[in-house]
Symmetry: C2
């Protein structure tokens, strides 16, 4: 198992998730001698958690193409295979993203009707309890309009099933809201989406600053723009947090001031806690690789037990909502060739990073 | 003159900027009957500010192609023409971006050696006083590698002249730092930039979360990605600010707590003020349209007098540093054909939004 702090965060995450999802069962793949003592720290966890020993693992440096050939006994591959075989409902990994995508696609296979799987996540908005689904976040660096149409279907079902929104408002990320603005890709995609029968309503172009307002339930974009956007959001939040910390550390006068302010600030504890939870990236951890025949969730590599438990939560949610069955039903409703007519056949699908 | 709150913010901005740049002189184009009474509110401003009356103006809805034909007497066009004629050193506008770009390009002309002008701005980083220059922010929705090379030259000189960095670290925005990651555009651009003689050092790929760290002095990208990135930064900052406000308004208990905390918080006033200035978008207002024979600064349409004065500050800085002469010297040093060999001639340059 991967991630910067594995296996501890994985076991801790399972322990925390168990509180929220009492019926969840876990199969953990990795080095048993490392995993068993950590599991023993949590009373009762061993009853719901099976360890499958495998010494092989995928490292952060491994190239996707290479692990496809040589990583057949890695913990990542065996975990994915468990989903392919029906032993598990969903795989959750904090390991190498490129390797996870390549192996998941190879082992789980792409859904009929979908040509490119996409990575999706939900992002916080001004409206409490409402997230905007953004995809693709980097599975496909280059896309054509039919890819964006598929993303709209996947994202629409994701929004409906996860947030209970009957008719998600779907947008295409662009550099302006007027029809004439943007690249050829977004203009052609807009034409396609405005005519398609979507699981939701095509609302038009969304701009970068529309992501946090909640005006759109789903925003689709190519994997290049989506990845840059996601990392820009993370970087901006980190920058502001760092600036606040720096300001509060700057002098003895400030420290004295904060000490004097403490009793008053304690009365503000609850909303401040709610606020810090709303912008804490751990609570948005767990990006979903959508469009495969099995469910696969990617956790941030640098997260902790709380973060990993949230990725497990995303997995539990998609499983409970029968996400894949809902997408299949949606594709059937649209008709087999709806998303990509034979005339618009694309080059063989490639996952970003597969070149290695 | 344009912008949501013109002409007041323009006059106010000139008044504020005058404090910082005592030798600055202003020519204001617009409706004299509106402008004159506002100028009269500021003692002595009339001595350094000339009003040129013109009733015609470009609106936010006007299409760039249309104003090129019909807007010859608009305040925006006459202001740009004043730079073209050498009556002014730089034009600053809070009006319609597409119209400003189209008219500036038409009237000021592109510099020899540059094929596409780019919009650049500097963004705050963790390192106080150090900004990262990001370009293109939307002038060119679709780019080829030679465009990114030109942006690297423009951005490198911008960073050197504005921040005094002798060897700016230049990066290409991408979805990973490894060479195999990303779109064809960034891979080919990386090859080109790593071989070129730049006004700085090509450091490699930058990711979205590298923008705020200060690890790069210049980050180049196509105008589509750059525009989405800039607006995502603005949207994220606004989202966090909104969430803090909401948390602090949430109950009487919080209001009481803040009241009790007030004396202590007053001791923290200075660093909190510094912090809020560091993330205040008004202090980053003023995007530069680089690569034209004259200087042109675009202010945010929705800014206030302080924001507009900062856009004037950017104009004053580029003028004082003889930015265009420095770029010309740099292009000469690189050799006439350095940025785009004849074999790689591109389709005629188009500005985004020019279609209308």
């Amino acid at each position: 198992m991967g991630g910067d702090h594995a296996p501890r965060i994985v076991i801790e995450g399972a322990h925390i998730a168990r509180g929220q999802f009492p019926s969840a069962r876990f199969i953990v793949f990795g080095d048993e001698t490392q995993i068993r003592p950590i599991v023993a720290e949590y009373a009762g966890l061993a009853d719901v958690l099976e360890i499958r020993h495998t010494p092989d693992r995928v490292t952060a440096e491994d190239k996707p193409g290479q692990v496809l050939r040589t990583g057949r006994n890695s913990s990542m591959r065996l975990a994915i295979d468990a989903v392919a075989k029906g032993e598990a409902d969903c795989v959750v990994s904090a390991g190498n993203t490129g390797a996870l995508m390549a192996m998941a696609k190879f082992s789980l296979k792409v859904m009929p009707g979908i040509h490119r799987p996409a990575i999706a996540t939900f992002l916080p908005t001004r409206i409490a309890g409402k997230g905007t689904v953004l995809l693709d976040l980097g599975a496909n660096a280059e896309c054509d309009p039919y890819n964006l149409l598929e993303f709209a279907v996947l994202g629409g079902v994701f929004s409906r099933e996860t947030f209970g929104i009957a008719q998600p408002q779907i947008g295409i990320l662009n550099i302006g809201s007027e029809a004439m603005k943007g690249s050829e890709l977004v203009k052609e995609s807009a034409e396609l989406l405005s005519k398609a029968k979507l699981p939701g309503i095509y609302k038009g172009f969304a701009e970068g600053d529309d992501i946090g307002t909640g005006a759109f339930d789903v925003i689709v974009t190519d994997g290049f723009t989506g990845n840059v956007t996601l990392k820009t959001i993370e970087g901006t939040a980190r920058l502001i947090k760092g600036m606040v910390k720096e300001a509060l550390k700057s002098s003895w006068m400030v420290k004295l001031g904060l000490l004097l302010a403490l009793p008053g600030l304690l009365l503000c504890y609850r909303p401040m806690k709610t606020f810090s939870k709303r912008i804490d990236p751990r609570y948005y951890n767990g990006a979903s690789l959508l469009g495969l025949k099995g469910l696969c969730i990617k956790s941030h590599g640098g997260t902790d037990g709380i973060g990993f438990s949230n990725a497990i939560g995303v997995a539990a949610g998609l499983t409970a909502n029968k996400f894949n069955a809902k997408v299949e039903a949606e594709l059937q409703r649209l008709g087999a060739d709806a998303l990509r007519p034979a005339a618009a056949a694309e080059a063989p699908a490639r996952l970003a990073g597969e070149e290695g």
